[in-house]
Symmetry: C2
Subunit: 147 residues, 2 copies
Amino acid sequence: MEPECGLALSARKVEYLKFIFQTGGMVRTSEIASAFNVDPSTITKTLTELAAAEYIRHVPYHGVCLTKTGEQHAEFLVKRHRILSLMLVRNGLLPKDACSEASRFESQVTKKAVDRICHFMGHPRQSACGEITHDDDCLERGRGKQS
Amino acid sequence: MEPECGLALSARKVEYLKFIFQTGGMVRTSEIASAFNVDPSTITKTLTELAAAEYIRHVPYHGVCLTKTGEQHAEFLVKRHRILSLMLVRNGLLPKDACSEASRFESQVTKKAVDRICHFMGHPRQSACGEITHDDDCLERGRGKQS
DNA sequence: TAAAATTTTGGAGATACTCCAAAAAATAAG
DNA sequence: CTTATTTTTTGGAGTATCTCCAAAATTTTA
């Protein structure tokens, strides 16, 4: 499992990064805090860590935005969520349950696995939670690229 | 999510409990320690917690065995692992990858979801990692029992 | 019964969360 | 344009898990 296996971020950080990505542009501490119902000071601390890892740029007292790397990674995070949700729906779960189950465990699923599942499902464009976009990696890896 | 949603134990404790169940009878601290490559003192601490939660009986210096509750729960844990592994195999993963992915995230999947997936897959008896057994709960819930 | 192996205890550290109170900075109101 | 309000950050502290090491306790072996 290389650095880019998709397990680098905790479940919480995955949620925050997806939220920042989906909100778009400059996102304020208070927006994240109220979206997840946690104290703003908690958000500040986590944002500092995400900034140290260069997923986001943090302008103190003004907000955060994704770096190029952060944006690419967030795209993967959103796709992972949607592919896993879709797999669960296709295996008997209700859309809302699929979504909440996936949110709980998705941080533990590698990119390699996601790419394979995505390939197996025929690179679907729509899941229970929104559109799915596909990158080259996924298209290659799904066919059996090792590692 | 009631107490019995299947999220009560950490990933690590799930691993230990499955191991104790699959080893059977009285299991020694050192067996678990070497199986997972952690210090025996770490195992002792975790066993103390599992004993406090009444999943196991701990006879100091001699080992642990499952309680009735622990055995029932371990059956669920093993089944969950196998159902999820099978779902992954049926969605394009290689058996060994399916098994390791499932081990990483299974602790975050509810019993309700497992029962639904199991029902959807037709209550299969064989997965990549071994036999699958079915309980009444699963058979009912899979048909749409709420909560 | 003494030596060796196993297990437990106690101490300490890492990671990842969390909140609260107080200080700092930005924004809005007068 | 200065004061009051709101937002954000800092610092402190606490919880939960998981980890290892060294030393003590216990069991097993020789």
